[in-house]
Amino acid sequence: MPGQQTTKHPLLAVEDLHVTFPTRKGLVEAVRGISFSLGREKLGIVGESGSGKSMTGRAILRLVAKPGIVRAKRLEFDGIDLQRAGEAQLRQIRGQRISMVMQDPKFSLNPVMRVGEQIAEAYRTHQKVAAAEAKRRALEMLKAVRIRDPERVYRAYPHEVSGGMGQRIMIAMMLIPDPDLLIADEPTSALDVTVQLQVLAILDDLVTQRGMGLIFISHDLNLVASFCDRVVIMYAGRVMEICDAKNLQAAQHPYTRGLLNCLPKIDGEGHDLPVLRRDPAWLEHGL
């Protein structure tokens, strides 16, 4: 497969993944035959709205809601065939081995439960430990995501914390079972730039320290290029290009080039921004 950095046993292997939704007007194909593999690295998936990037992340964890249909030639995580795994086995995998951070902490946290208890619950779902031990671990985790006053935040309700802190709490909850793979779907796009980078730095350090794999889904090409090791560029449900993040500025595909060019730059010229011209052929051919 082109663009696939073949280690013998990648952490995650995706081959010819399709996600389709039957609608009154016929089948809508959200993801149309994409392939990639992931080692213990930071992989970015970039695309515009509707490109299928979020559906790709959800399909891996079988979180695509009915009537959506997911099929793939191969969907394998650490030797486990995710398509043939039963619901019980998948519940073991979700959270403990693969976890997912969503975009908006406001809608992902339980509004009537103290955040610390939610983190402890995530731990106790997968580990048989006493409540006191779970609390100790949750407090440790809050410290690891650089929350200054973990005791106070542990007792807070979601509406009492800021967006940046809410996202750190989500990350703490997702990381406490010590997963091998974290899927982060636009985890920081609701945050201010400086807070966004601070949250990414926490993720970065944890990936490095724990040897975790990370799939980072984002619409922000520059951010992904500076943060990730490799980048998958998606358009209309297909992969246009997979390249090393450090070579992104030299990307060849006209879609990638178009996306890069239409961004305003702080030190850019005052001329009109080049507008992305979409080639209908991109709809037909992906990697």
């Binding site: 990414l200 619409h219 305003p264 702080i266 030190d267 850019g268």
Partner: protein, 264 residues
């Protein structure tokens, strides 16, 4: 150049007692006619509140606001709204979901009793790059970029002199953002408009504006020419930190980030 907008010691306070929030503190700036002025800051910095006070949407302000030579009070008359129009951040929330584009554009014309509504609607749709085919569609039949074009058309149809732009492209994909920014630049040249652009995106502001003010905790920390920003040479450490953050992920730089509290 004569100044189109003059703001002196603008203060906005919400609530009182324990809930008192001083959202805008002694903000002053002036915008020459035909210029684009940027207001930059993070969430909660007060940048949108300044815009809402200028547009007459927020009555809780004190200070002096002069627009096109007219000192403005709390209440604005109809002539003011013909002169100053606003474009909002969320094109999904700012258009009536059960009104067609035609009806959305007809309303300001009816309020201001302008003649020839048919011709005006067709003309303004053409100017924002939407053909006459869009006239009888509903917002849900349009993409985000097309909706923002309708919102811009609704503001322009009264032939205002000033457009207040509140994060006009932050809900759009970057490719659509480029189209809308180009459209705003072209309209400004064709009609000699004056813009105030509120944005959290320094690159967008650097691209669009002549001058900008950086806000933090309700106050302006620095006012600078865009050329200084383009040379990566802002003087205030807060502006410099925002600039570094806008340039992308840099692990080492993040450890040097500081909290900037309220000054003075």
């Amino acid at each position: 150049m004569t100044s189109m907008i003059d703001v002196v010691k603008l203060n906005v306070v919400f609530g009182d007692g324990a809930d008192r929030v001083h959202a805008v503190r002694d903000v002053s700036f002036r915008v020459p006619e035909g210029a684009t002025f940027g207001l930059v800051g993070e969430s909660g910095s007060g940048k949108s509140t300044v815009l809402r006070a200028l547009s007459g949407l927020n009555p809780n302000w004190t200070g002096r606001v002069v627009i096109a030579g007219q000192p403005q009070g709390i209440r604005r008359d109809k002539a003011f709204y013909k002169l100053v129009q606003m474009v909002f951040q969320d094109p999904y929330g700012s258009l009536h979901p059960r009104h067609t584009v035609d009806r959305i554009l007809m309303e300001p014309l009816a309020i201001h009793r302008l003649d020839n509504p048919d011709r005006r609607i067709e003309q303004v749709l053409g100017e924002v790059g939407l053909g006459p085919a869009f006239r009888f569609r509903y917002p849900h039949q349009l993409s985000g970029g097309q909706r923002q074009r309708v919102a811009i058309a609704r503001a322009l149809i009264l032939e205002p002199k000033v457009l207040l732009l509140d994060e006009p492209t932050s809900a759009l994909d970057v490719s659509v953002q480029a189209e809308v920014l180009n459209l705003l630049q072209r309209l400004k040249q064709e009609r000699g408009l004056t813009y105030i652009l509120v944005s959290h995106n320094l690159a967008v502001v650097a691209h669009m504006c002549d001058e900008l003010a950086v806000m933090n905790h309700g106050a302006v920390v620095e006012e600078l020419e865009v050329s200084r920003l383009k040379r990566h040479d802002p003087s205030h450490p807060y502006t410099r930190q925002l600039m570094v953050a806008s340039l992308g992920y840099d692990r080492a730089a993040i450890d040097r980030f500081e909290e900037f509290g309220r000054e003075g």
